[in-house]
Assembly symmetry: C2
Homo-oligomer: 191 residues x 2
């Protein structure tokens, strides 16, 4: 998505540790009109996929998930991050390792909000190693819900998580794929 690539080039900052900071429009400050455009694009990509719910994980994917869900006219289910591994029996859960924060956490979704009748689109702001999406996929498997595919705003292609999911036959749509980045240059994968 040209619009997103241009925005990243204009406002993004490359920080140490392979961090691409897009806080000015995507996760600290939300450019609402722009995020609505991202949501429209995701909805367009999945409009014929029979999506019944969008699932995301708190908190920076929520606005994009919401914008896409408004267009697809479906609810969003938000997986909560819990520090404790002790979760009661009424939730689906998965342990996820965060490379950004260097810790593990448990993602949980209450059982009433996912079932085998659901056909789910996973949405997040970033896809790097793919840990968060893999955790959400594990949760879907517990619930019996079908996975229609994933959509993320920015994939860091050089970290390999997206391609690994694609190799497993999972549909992964990224609105921008960063192929390489350094302090002074940033290149996108050509689609």
């Amino acid at each position: 998505m040209k619009l997103l690539e241009e925005k990243i080039l204009r406002e993004g900052k490359v920080l140490p540790g392979n961090v691409l900071q897009v806080g000015s429009f995507l996760n600290q400050q939300l450019d609402t009109a722009f995020i609505c455009r991202l949501g429209e694009e995701i909805a367009q990509l999945y409009k014929d996929a029979g999506i019944t719910k969008i699932v995301t994980i708190e908190s920076s994917g929520i606005s994009i998930a919401f914008a896409a869900a408004v267009r697809l006219n479906v609810p969003v289910v938000v997986a909560k991050k819990s520090i404790s591994a002790n979760v009661s029996g009424s939730v689906y859960s998965a342990r996820i390792h965060s490379f950004t924060h260097g810790n593990d956490f448990t993602a949980i979704i209450s059982k009433p909000y996912l079932s085998e009748d659901d056909n789910v689109l996973l949405v997040d702001d970033f896809l790097a190693v793919g840990e968060a999406l893999r955790g959400l996929i594990a949760i879907l498997e517990q619930s019996g819900a079908k996975l229609a595919g994933c959509a993320v705003a920015i994939e860091k292609g050089f970290q390999g998580g997206g391609d690994k999911l694609r190799e497993q036959g999972i549909r992964v749509e990224s609105l921008a794929i960063v192929e390489s980045m350094t302090n002074d240059s940033l290149t996108f994968r050509q689609s």
Copy 2:
């Protein structure tokens, strides 16, 4: 807002510890069309207030803040919750006590996203004791931004936080104010 009161009566559950669970539409699962209606209502209330930014705190206020911001055509700034009290000099921060979780956390906003040119509307899903809003107000004061007012979906009136803010001359708009609740009855403040 009649629509929200009816939804709470239909789907809300009163849990031990004065918890009103509205996970089916407001924070675990997001009823997107419904949350857009809440956003419209908030935008309607503040349409003449000259709002430049909406500020919320992660994560359950994000969708409502986003829906209101789309209508007001302003960005949302999301205060991040940090467990550590050690925050660098480039952020505004406030310690907040969570009565729900029984712990303290630090809310932070990066300095570039708030300035004395801003006229801010604070949005959250719940207002009980008012700790979160007071923390956000402390952050606004550090930044020099003006506080136009607060808007929340559900105020638990019997916990007093909203009225305390109003007594300080702060505009607080709540789309539904729960005046009392027990396992089998729930009453709203008449407006």
